[in-house]
C-alpha cells in the first residue's frame, strides 16, 4: 500500500474579519471571517480550513448598461433602486454579504459624493449583512468618493477597494483611520501583489486587514493563468511568506458575464444551447475552479450559479 503523504506547512493565511456586529459597534447581524487556511483548498486531512469560502452578491448604485438578459430578468424589478436591490438579494437569495459597486460615480455617469453618502447611510439602516464597497475604477473619482464611504461606514469593518500599486495612499489612509479592510489589486502579477502589500503595510495598515484581488479571468479567458498565480501566492503564504499570506477576493461575475460564451443570446449561437443554462454554468465553473485555487470571497451575479456554488462548498465542507 502507498503511504499517504501529508504536507506539513510552516505557516498560515491571515484571517480577515468583515462586518461588525452591534456588540462590536456596527450594525451587522453577524460578521464573516475569511482566510486562516493552514493548507491548500479542500485538503481537510492535511490541515485546518477554518473559514468556508463566501459569496457576495453584486449590487450596483446605478442600472448596469451591459448586463445580458439572463441577468436582467432577475434584477430589473429592483435595479433602479440600490436599496431594493440589496434587500432582494438578502431576503430572497439569502446573500452572505453584499458587494456594492459604485459604478455610478464614474465621470461619465457622475453621481456625487453626497448622493453616495446618503445611499450608504440608508443601506446601513436597512441592510444587516457585511458590506464590500468597490469604486468605479477611475482613480481620481475613487479617491474623492471612497474616503467618504469609509467615513460614513466608520466602525462597520467593511472591505473597501480597490487600491493598486499606482494608487493606494488615499484609500489606505482612510481605511486605516476608519477601521476597515482593504482590497489590494494586482494585474495577475505575483511580484506586484507582494510589492503592493508591502506598500500598504508600510503605511501602518496591518497585513491582517488586506485582501488580495489577484485579478481573475473567466473560463476560456485566462482562468488557468489566474489559477497558477493564486496557487503560487498561496504556497508562498503557507511556507511562511507573511507579506503575501492574504486571503483572495475574486470578481467572478464581472469576468464571466463579459465572455460571449456566457452572455450571447439564444438566437446568436443556437448550437451553443440555451443562454439560461449556458450563462450560469459558465459563472459556476469559473467560480468552482477559483475555489480550487484558493478563493476566499467570490463576487458573483447569477442567483442560480450562486446557489449551485454554495451547494458545492457545503458538500465539500461536510465530508
Amino acid at each position: 500500500m502507498i503511504k499517504q503523504h501529508l504536507e506539513n506547512w510552516s505557516s498560515e493565511i491571515n484571517t480577515v474579519t468583515i462586518g461588525a456586529t452591534k456588540e462590536e459597534g456596527g450594525s451587522c447581524r453577524y460578521n464573516i471571517k475569511i482566510g486562516g487556511e493552514k493548507t491548500l483548498p479542500f485538503l481537510f486531512k492535511e490541515g485546518s480550513l477554518p473559514c468556508k469560502p463566501v459569496i457576495a452578491y453584486e449590487v450596483w448604485d446605478t442600472v448596469p448598461s451591459d448586463w445580458p438578459q439572463e441577468l436582467v430578468r432577475f434584477y430589473k424589478d429592483v435595479w433602479t433602486n440600490p436599496i431594493d436591490w440589496a434587500e432582494k438579494v438578502v431576503k430572497e437569495y439569502h446573500a452572505d454579504l453584499i458587494c456594492l459597486k459604485l459604478a455610478g460615480i464614474h465621470p461619465e455617469i457622475g453621481k456625487t459624493p453626497d448622493e453616495i453618502a446618503k445611499l450608504l447611510g440608508e443601506i446601513l439602516r436597512k441592510i444587516d449583512v457585511p458590506l464590500i464597497i468597490i469604486g468605479c475604477g477611475d482613480d481620481q473619482k475613487d479617491n474623492l468618493v471612497l474616503p467618504i464611504c469609509s467615513q460614513v461606514t466608520k466602525g462597520q469593518r467593511c472591505l473597501i477597494g480597490e487600491v493598486t500599486q499606482d494608487n493606494y495612499r488615499t484609500l489606505t489612509a482612510s481605511v486605516l483611520a476608519d477601521g476597515h479592510n482593504i482590497i489590494a489589486q494586482s494585474p495577475i502579477d505575483i511580484n506586484i501583489a507582494k510589492q503592493l502589500n508591502i506598500l500598504i503595510s508600510d503605511m501602518g495598515l496591518p497585513l491582517e486587514r488586506i485582501v488580495i484581488d489577484p485579478t481573475v479571468g473567466a473560463l476560456g479567458y485566462g482562468l488557468e493563468y489566474t489559477y497558477s498565480i493564486m496557487e503560487r501566492l498561496r504556497l508562498a503564504g503557507l511556507n511562511g511568506d507573511k507579506v503575501i499570506a492574504s486571503p483572495f477576493i475574486c470578481f467572478v461575475g464581472q469576468e464571466t458575464w463579459r465572455a460571449k460564451e456566457a452572455k450571447a443570446e439564444d438566437s446568436e449561437f443556437p448550437q451553443w444551447g440555451k443562454a439560461s443554462r449556458r450563462g450560469p454554468l459558465w459563472e459556476m465553473i469559473t467560480a468552482v475552479t477559483l475555489l480550487q485555487a484558493g478563493a476566499d470571497i467570490l463576487v458573483m451575479r447569477h442567483p442560480e450559479a450562486i446557489r449551485k456554488v454554495k451547494e458545492y462548498i457545503e458538500l465539500a465542507y461536510s465530508v
Partner: protein, 262 residues
C-alpha cells in the same frame, strides 16, 4: 535561512566582561540588536575562560529571555554547562554541539531528547578534523544512524561539515560545500545543515567579503542554517538575495524589506 546570531560569546572582550560582572544591559543590548537585524535564534557561549560556566550559562539564558522570545542555542563543550542552560530555556533550544564520537553522542542525544531540544552534530571525531568529503559523510552517517537508533527526530538534527579557514585549508572548501548538499541524501526525512560561518575567514584580511562569498555559495548548495554575525548587513542582504535567486522568495521591488517583515 535560519540565522543564529553568534555575538553573545565570552571570547569577545565586551561580552566576557559583562558575564564576569553580571551586567545584564550589555547582554540584552546584543540580544536585541541581533534579533532586530534578522536573527531567528541566538547562540550563547560563556567563553573559554569563564570561571563558573555552570552558573554563567543559566544566567545568560535568563538574561536574554527577559528581552527576547526566540530559541536559544546553548553553546559549550561541557555537557553539564549545556544542561544547566537547557533547564531554564523557554523556547525549544538548540544544543551546540556533539561530535560523532560515541561517548559524546550518548550524553548529548540523551540530553536533547530529555529537554526536547534540537541538536547540532559536528562531523568531527576524536581522530581529528576530516580531510575530505568522504570522511565528512562517514561521520555524518554515524551521527544520523545513532540518532535514528535512539528515535531522535532527524528533522531536529543539524549537521555541520566543519568550516575551515580558507587560508589554511583552501583545498577543502569545495568538499565542505559539497558535503552540505550530500548530507541531505543520508536519510529521509533529511537532516538539516548548518555552518559556523566566521571560521572560513579566520586569520585573513577582507573577512567580511570571504564570509559573504562563502555564505552565498553555501546557500546555493542548500544550506538550512548558519551561525554568523547578523549585524553584518551586507552579509544578511546577500543571503536574502541568494535565496531570491534560488526562487525561495517571491520577487518584489522591496524584496529585502519583505524578507525582514517575517
Amino acid at each position: 535561512m535560519f540565522i543564529i546570531g553568534e555575538l553573545i560569546n565570552g571570547m569577545y572582550k565586551e561580552i566576557g566582561k559583562a558575564i564576569k560582572e553580571k551586567n545584564k544591559a550589555v547582554i540584552q543590548d546584543y540580544a536585541l540588536k541581533q534579533i532586530k537585524a534578522g536573527a531567528d535564534a541566538l547562540d550563547l557561549n560563556c567563553g573559554p575562560v569563564a570561571k563558573d560556566p555552570l552558573s554563567d550559562m543559566p544566567w545568560l539564558v535568563e538574561t536574554v529571555q527577559q528581552v527576547v522570545d526566540k530559541p536559544l542555542c546553548i553553546d559549550s563543550s561541557k555537557p553539564k554547562v549545556i544542561e544547566a542552560g537547557l533547564k531554564v530555556a523557554k523556547n525549544k533550544p538548540i544544543i551546540n554541539s556533539t561530535t560523532a564520537d560515541l561517548e559524546k553522542l550518548e550524553i548529548l542525544v540523551d540530553l536533547a531528547k530529555r529537554y526536547n531540544a534540537k541538536l547540532i552534530g559536528l562531523t568531527l571525531s576524536s581522530k581529528g578534523v576530516p580531510q575530505n568529503k568522504e570522511q565528512r559523510l562517514e561521520l555524518a552517517a554515524q551521527i544520523v544512524a545513532y540518532c535514528s537508533e535512539k528515535d531522535f527526530p532527524i528533522e531536529d538534527l543539524y549537521l555541520d561539515p566543519v568550516v575551515l579557514p580558507v587560508n589554511v585549508a583552501q583545498a577543502q572548501q569545495k568538499d565542505i560545500l559539497e558535503s552540505i548538499h550530500e548530507f541531505k541524501i543520508i536519510s529521509e526525512p533529511p537532516p538539516k545543515t548548518i555552518v559556523g560561518l566566521s571560521n572560513v575567514s579566520q586569520g585573513t584580511h577582507l573577512r567580511k567579503l570571504i564570509n559573504r562569498t562563502f555564505m552565498v555559495m553555501a546557500v546555493a548548495f542548500g544550506l538550512d542554517s548558519a551561525i554568523l554575525d547578523p549585524l553584518d548587513k551586507e552579509l544578511m542582504d546577500a543571503i536574502i538575495t541568494a535565496e531570491l535567486i534560488l526562487n525561495k522568495h517571491i520577487y518584489c521591488d522591496s524584496f529585502l524589506e519583505a524578507c525582514k517583515k517575517k
